[in-house]
Every structure is written in structure tokens, then in C-alpha cells.
Symmetry: C2
Subunit: 360 residues, 2 copies
Amino acid sequence: MRPLSPGSVIGILGGGQLGRMLALSAAQLGYRCHIFDPDIHAPAADVAASHICADYGDRDALVRFADSVDVVTYEFENVPVAAVEHLVSRGTCIRPGAQALKVAQDRVAEKDFVTALGGTCGRYRAVDSLEALQAALHVVGTPAVLKTRRMGYDGKGQARIYKPDEAAAAWAAISGQPAIVEAFVPFQCEVSVLIVRSATGELRSYGPIENEHVAGILSRSQFPAALPDFVTAQAISLAGTIAAKLDYVGVLAVELFIVDGQPWLNEIAPRVHNSGHGTIEGSVTSQFENHLRAVCGLPLGSTSPVGHTEMRNLIGADVDQWSQLLSDDTAHVHLYGKSDVRAGRKMGHVTRVTPFGPLR
Amino acid sequence: MRPLSPGSVIGILGGGQLGRMLALSAAQLGYRCHIFDPDIHAPAADVAASHICADYGDRDALVRFADSVDVVTYEFENVPVAAVEHLVSRGTCIRPGAQALKVAQDRVAEKDFVTALGGTCGRYRAVDSLEALQAALHVVGTPAVLKTRRMGYDGKGQARIYKPDEAAAAWAAISGQPAIVEAFVPFQCEVSVLIVRSATGELRSYGPIENEHVAGILSRSQFPAALPDFVTAQAISLAGTIAAKLDYVGVLAVELFIVDGQPWLNEIAPRVHNSGHGTIEGSVTSQFENHLRAVCGLPLGSTSPVGHTEMRNLIGADVDQWSQLLSDDTAHVHLYGKSDVRAGRKMGHVTRVTPFGPLR
């Protein structure tokens, strides 16, 4: 595909805050966006030229959507792979492609894929029965965490197992779905690398970004991370290897634990990522713009940080602070236009940047 | 009016690139935008929740528009004042208000207003006949420039008069409309101050910004300007006085000539301004966000520059460079989504920022 000229239409599967911020970046570059999302109140729809409101499994609606745009991307990794493959078979250009979705949708496939590339992760086993779980705990050990193989996010679909006799309760808690059991990883810190790969294979990266989670939800991210150069290099190198092997186009988030000074894989997300929201003000080019540059076949923009950057999520009732936050001269306030405040819901974020200054 | 809470709807009269960039900033703050613009292809419509496509003189459409939003602002200063006053009489909150429009729509009223406040400008006379023009040239002198009192922008509706015997040709060139004749001002440079005034009267400013025009159209802007502190203070002080006297809410652009180290008024524009596009990356808070903060009754954000900032307009076929510009790591490229490339049309802009670094 040739670079998409300004005025072209980008289709985005998923219309949450990630789609919204993608649409805002697309507008800066002169593109129009069409959003596909089953939610009539999808936050991205308010800033896009069109919104197809249908279920991700609705083939006819997906075809109509694909036929109305010049390229398709997604902000939501649980789009059915079969639907994406159907569009590809009809000639739709989808970036990143179906392979990244396939790998990222299955926690076992993801870990198998990354370990085959030489990446490290904690002990894990696929389990699809209580007996298999009990057997796996002998290998994996306790404490461990049982997670559904598919469709988990923000700590949902997970159960902790501190002692082997908690296996049955954990298995019941995830409703006996196909699962992965993972050893607890005694990490020093959690980081993410957002790697962006262009259509011509050019790689650039953000991070590592240091992340703090509260109750399974990202709370705070900051970059540059205070890590030794060699750890940084290993983390970026692993992320780049994964992206290249997937023939990935766009931003890929690689979440890592730092264990004994080594990066271990936690999980990957084939999309722009919450931990990269600080790149809007904290990097020369944001993750959103670079994802779109890749998807549209353009050269990538600089991912250099412009300062020490801290991003805090506004979760649930945190958003009630909007008025005070807007009085803080150091705060860049981002609100997602969600009318319904619910516990655990990402309502916005706040970024603060302390500039580095020019090279001295 | 109390501060507008996130999720409120902002109505924007005018859907050009200024409206588009306002809508993008509004989205960051969690607001929705409705656009009023007679052009079905209005660039702002693609990033707004709704677009009423009607003429500015269409009272019924304006009332429908005003009734669908929580506050109205404008990006286009030639909205009929009578229509705005009609909306105000029905209870619509319009910021900035009708008075700023009235003054800014008439070049004579504008200069009378500013000189009454103690501001300086070049010699000028209102003229409404060829005889009046000929008489005025005795006072104003030549070279001079004849401009329509109303509806001029980007050098349109103007004719230069180098010698008194060119008066008739100039008068014909502007089709004999009510006009102002102004002495050529032997300026050292052209600058603008963008002053933002909140609903509570708080004032902050961007600039002075140094501007270069080519063929009557802004070509390049940069800030901070290389001006003595005292000149800077005088320019900002004049802009603030104008804004306060107009009881202005929002961003007001005050264009000035620097003559013998003194700021002289050129003209004012009661809206966000092309010379401030560099504030998106070059200031802590952009002119667009601060305009919206003011309009929504929020506290203002910091207008501090983060680096030496240069903005260049992409005019007409300049936009054909989009692909090369996107390969330049130092360039922030903004395209307005206009499909029709015409000579003199503002198609986009490019900003480059060289960071200052922290205070040392």
C-alpha cells in the first residue's frame, strides 16, 4: 500500500478513549476517521466523521465499515480474528494484522511465542480442567495466579492461588474457562516498552516506561525509567524482535517485569497503550501519531522524550477532581467524555512534564 | 455561568481550521462540540459531534444551534452582530460577546476604540466616497492603503495608493465600499499578542509573537520575539487593556507593528489566531485550550513557552510537501483536512520547537 494521502479515511475498530485519542491525532495529520463500536456512546464517535454502531461479530456491518475506509486499525484486541481474516480475504488492509491479534488474544500462545523468540517469563502452564490445574501447580508452584486464556483486562478474569488447596475455588472463580496458571513473579518493578514498527520495517520505541498498578488497573506511569542502560537495551530489543517476528505495523505494547535486573515478559497488547498516554506531551511524537503514521504507511516521528514525564489515570470518582486539576498549571488534563462514572472505569488522565532542556 | 462540567456541549460558529483545532482541544477536556458553518465540507465538522450546515444569517438555524449547546463561541469574526444579539436576548451565553464582534468588524471602530484607550496607530481616516478619500489623503499622506471597513482578511479588500492620483483606481478596486484609508506604517517588525481573559477577569498572554506576511497572508511566526523587555511589556499591557475594556472572555489577538521601538495597533481579531498555532507544541497550554477554558468558565492554563518556537503556514500547493515534512523529525505537521487545494488557501502548518530546558 502506498502512503495514504491527507484526506484519506482511517477505520478504527473500537471507540473507547484509545480510539478517541487516535482520532484526535488522525485529525492533526489531515485524515478522517470512521469508528466501529457497539456502544452508541463510544467516546471516539464524538470526534470522528462517522460511527458504525454494531457488534464486532456482525459481518455485514464490518464489511460495510471496511468498504467505507482506506485502511483499518484497532484499539481493542478482542476483535474476533475470524472477522478480521474475512475482511483481509476481501482485500481490506488491516494494520496491525490478524497474526498479532491471534497471539495477543491467547495468554498461552503469547507466552509460547515470546519464549520461542528467546524471551523470558515466569513459569506457566495451560490448564483446561481442575485436574490439570492441580497438576500444573506442582510445576508452577504457589503462590500463583489463574487467568482466563482470553478476554481478560484490567485484572478481570483472574484468581490468585496462595496454597494448592485453593485451586478449586480459583477454578470456580473463573467459571472453569480455558486458562493459564502462572507463578507469581517477584518483580522489582513493572515496565512497558511501546515499540512502533512502520510498514517498511522501521522500528522506534518509547520507554521503558515504569508502571504502577492498583487493584489490577494501571494507576501511574513515568518515563524515562530509572533502569541501567543494559536492562533498557534488553527490553527494547525484545520488544523489537517480537514486533518484527509478527510483521507488525503500528504500536505494540510489551509489558515486562524487571526480575533480578532482567526483563521478563508479562503480556503484550497489539495496540496503543494506557502506559503511553504521557507521550502526548512528553515525547516529540505521541504514540497515537506514530501508530497512525505506521498504519498510513508514513515514516515514523521521533519518539524522543522531551522531559521527565508522569501520567496518572483518573479512575472512577477520581474524575471529580477535574476542577482542581485544571487549576494546577503543571497538569495536562485529559478527560474522555464518558458520562457514566463507574468504579474502576478509566475516565481521564493527567500528565506532568518536567523538561530536560537542550543537550549541554 | 458556573464552570461547564465535562460532557457539556460547546457550540462553535465557524468550522474552519480554527474551529477544528478548538474542537480537538475541547475533546481533550471532555467536552462535545457542535459546529455551525454553511460549508458542508467544513474542516471542523469531521471532529465534532454535530454540524449544522446553514448560513450565518439564518436565524432559525442559529436558534436551533444555540438551543442544542451549553455555550457558544466563534472562530469567525464576521458573524452578523444582529444574529448574535438575538441569541443573547434569548438567553444564550456567547463568549466572547457581541461587543468584541462589533468593534472588530469595523476597522474604523477598532482604531477609534484602541486610540481612545491610549493605544497608538498610524494616521487613518474613514472614507465613504472618492471625494472623501481624496481629502483624507491630504491628512494621511502617501503611500497609503485603502481597506474596506468590513469583511477583509488575508489582504483581501485592500488597495495600495502610492501617489494621490491613484485614489480613483483604488476606490474602484474596492468597489466603492465604506472604507478606511491608512498611512503606510514604516514598521521594524510585525508582532501579535494573544491575550486570554477568563470569565473572572484573569489575564494571561502569549507573545509578542513575531510574524512575517507574504502577499498579505501570514507566512511564518516565531516566539519568544527578540524584543526589549519594555516593548514586550507595553504590547502585553495594551492587549490586556483592550480585553478588559471589552469585558472579553477568551483569546483575543492583537496585531501590532513595532515602530521606533513602540507597539502600534494594526488590528484586532476576537478569536484564536493563526499566529498562535505554535502554542500547541510551544507553550504549556495552547491558545485553543485556553480559549475553551475561558469560554467554559474554567481557570486558565499556563501560557509559558517551552522553547523557541517557529510556525510556518502551508499555503496552497505548499501542502504537497506533506510527505517530506513527515520525514523531518523536528517538524510537527498539522493538516486541516481540506480536499480542495487553492492558491492562497491555508492547508496546514508546521511547527518546530527548540526546548529551553529547565531554569538553571
